[in-house]
Subunit: 463 residues, 2 copies
């Protein structure tokens, strides 16, 4: 055995419950988990990590993220939804270079790693660059979604104009991505139409056909709000869910992100057909003032996961914070403190996210034969004390509502120790932060003029 974590509290997420094992031990050989049980029954390993005072659990799964935007952290908040994309984000995004996106992605990913995320679902145009430049060198598991978007201009009036050549290029890239990584253990490639209002009917049909041929998932923003609704209604005379349903896209290979602008019957229909759902609580709360319907999907027995989305709206890529936010805002939406209890939220962040992304055969639980994506959390911090097992495991609630993410001590992905005793083993964090700071400063300065002009233009148009 290569690595053992001993004398620890395991939350395995095996079977229906949390599968807690006190005084537990976990054994890893190569990239696989080979032992889950009582610490006393663990045989010798080459390296032994003392897990006392720690919880050991599966790594968290960030089921939807655009990490390339992380340099714009704190850049677009507290504004009306209608302004967010154009006035908030747009002026800076227009001024981003490929190097800015790469530097931002590295920053976002190390933030996520430090707070226990071991799988990122990256949704980006030319996502292969993120895979090759960030995720692969960092040894981080990825669901890589190639964004497809044909919109050339958005003017809030009339229908968006499309450029079919953008769609063709995107589809070609997505096909190549799937062909290249289809068998890769660390990368699951997917097709990612940005949203139904942002692609032509020809492209969405093409995506559906190509994804079906290659048995690949389609991961798509669905029913994001009023602007999408109006565009889709004016173009097709129906709602997003109805249109993609008629196209035969609602099936077990479809991942629907957001879904807050849907009727209950539409959610029911998606759930029945095996569609998986991802909600991004902080992002949608901050940008739209809306609570994503995660609880609704769970109550329909659909697979559901949680994502951090992007940094400029919600603040960053900390999944512990995201899980707590999911619980708290769902409770106030429904005026019901029993909604999204801690155990359910923890599952959302692990096995739930794995199911939502269709990677639960490999990760999401601690089970013999699964890939070794494992984190340890130091519970001896004042904010996580006390930790008790009788008459119930208080630390399940404590993990969700009291941890900050910074108590994560070890992060192991596919058997590789990425963070050991709170420090990165091979990632040069200091230089990434330094580059992020320098590039971020230049980017905000470069975008300042556009930002001011856009504010003026919007003020004029709206006034």
């Amino acid at each position: 055995m290569d690595l053992a974590i001993v004398d620890t509290t395991l939350i395995t997420f095996q079977k229906e419950g949390l599968g807690i094992i006190e005084q537990g031990g976990l054994g890893i050989r190569g990239n696989k988990i080979v032992f889950v049980g009582k610490s006393d029954d663990l045989r010798d390993a080459d390296e032994v990590i003392d897990g006392s005072n720690c919880i050991t659990m599966p790594g968290l799964i960030d089921a939807h993220a655009h990490t390339g935007l992380a340099l714009l952290r704190g850049g677009a908040q507290d504004m009306p939804e209608i302004e967010w994309m154009r006035k908030g984000l747009g002026p800076f995004v227009r001024n981003m270079t490929e190097k800015d996106k790469k530097a931002g992605s590295k920053l976002g990913v190390i933030e996520g790693l430090r707070s226990g995320t071991t799988t990122f679902c990256e949704f980006s145009a030319n996502v292969r660059k993120y895979v090759e430049n960030v995720y692969k060198p960092f040894k981080v598991r990825t669901v890589a979604v190639e964004t497809l978007n044909e919109v050339t201009g958005v003017d809030d009036k009339g229908l968006y104009e499309f450029d079919e050549s953008k769609g063709e290029l995107g589809l070609k890239r997505a096909d190549e991505l799937v062909d290249e990584y289809g068998e890769n253990e660390m990368v699951k490639p997917c097709y990612g139409p940005q949203a139904l209002d942002m692609v032509s009917m020809d492209l969405i049909k093409g995506v559906n056909k190509h994804a079906h041929q290659r048995e690949a998932d389609i991961h798509m923003h669905v029913a994001q709000g009023e602007r999408e609704r109006i565009q889709v209604k004016n173009r097709y005379g129906d709602s997003t869910v109805k249109v993609i349903s008629d196209l035969g896209m609602l099936n077990h290979r479809f991942v629907a992100v957001h879904c807050h602008d849907t009727e209950y019957e539409e959610k029911e229909c998606m759930a029945e057909r095996g569609v998986r759902m991802v909600g991004c609580p902080s992002s949608i709360a901050m940008i739209d003032g809306i609570v994503p319907p995660i609880h609704d999907f769970l109550s329909l027995d659909a697979a559901g996961g949680v994502g951090t989305d992007q940094a400029p709206g919600p603040g960053g890529h900390n999944m512990f914070r995201e899980l707590r936010t999911a619980a708290v805002i769902t409770k106030v939406r429904d005026r019901d403190p029993t909604r999204l209890p801690s155990w359910e939220v923890l599952k959302l962040g692990t096995v739930g996210g794995a199911k939502a992304l269709g990677i639960d055969n490999g990760v999401g639980t601690l089970e013999v034969g699964k890939s070794a994506d494992v984190i340890t959390i130091d519970m001896s911090s004042a904010n996580l004390t006390p930790r008790v097992s009788e008459p119930f495991h208080n630390y399940v609630a404590t993990l969700v509502h009291s941890s900050t993410g910074k108590e994560v001590r070890e992060v192991i992905i596919n058997g590789d120790i990425v963070i050991r005793n709170g420090g990165f083993t091979s990632i040069d964090e200091e230089s990434i932060v330094k580059e992020g700071q320098e590039r971020g400063k230049c980017l905000f300065e470069r975008g300042a003029k556009d930002w001011e002009e856009e504010a003026g233009r919007m003020a004029k148009e709206m006034g």
Copy 2:
């Protein structure tokens, strides 16, 4: 000058805005701030702290907390509001010793200190013990509220029974507290009727009279929900706000906590009369599924602060998390992403809290002549990068939405450095955590029988 923080970004909260000074410096002599300005203009000091890559700002003010309950962290969540007190908290609270409360308070206070809190408003019976055993030795500023509660039994049917001798004892304790600490710079003593349904008319009148004579504040839970409403209606035929208004209690010496079960006109009336308001976002969201009306009070130009309340419901005493929660849940309550913008939320946690507690003459801003309650936050963490000043200060949003509280580096209270470079200077954190863990474990075990019985009894009664 005794202490200087140099080359730092100051958020002073002077005047209406945030009063940001880049390349700023702060000077402290004794317990007072003696310089706030450009770092270059700072004269020599005995000790110099390098504040580059840091934000330096006033310490956070936790405007309402019951830290004595911290050993019950993770002990009462995800349950119907009707069960929270009796089934969740009650069985364990009944088994708490004075030593448990003291150990819990220490744990809660070091959690708060580590996340930048420099003033705690402690609301507890026999609050003097917390002042003498925790706050004074820890050198932490306190607004000490003596809880007054005459209820002998709560059975959900009929009116609560009162024991007048409990009230007399409490009032005597409160009088003594005010007499003892009235002139103390580090302790502001207040009268704390638990709630209108939990004290007799005689006692509330007595409190009002004694507080008026001593020019002391009354800090009271107001309009906490259905059970209070029913009790007050049945006893007095009116709402809580109407009853205390008729008693002449609504004035500039009254601090109303929670207030979620109030009509808009009642909030308006309170605001007009100078009542100050404290909301506890995580606590009320977790226990009741309700968003406290903090935004409503601010929009009525009333002073408002934020409190962590207790650990068992919301999870703990981290004010950074509390501020973010306030913003996010207010946005979704009103379906308006512009609600509680970051700058307003930061003010709530500092100068707002100081005003709400009536201590803004001494603390809450960085100004010459004020007490030196100051924190520094290390902004070089990946989750707080980048930090820019043009075209706007993105770090205001970043502080609220991306920090975890664990980036706090220095905590200075009344001129004393309590935390330096991330470590406590004189508080023995390790032994406090150890005692908290041991006592917490015993307490949960001791309460297990009552907890199981209470669950059964409630199931029977409700069934």
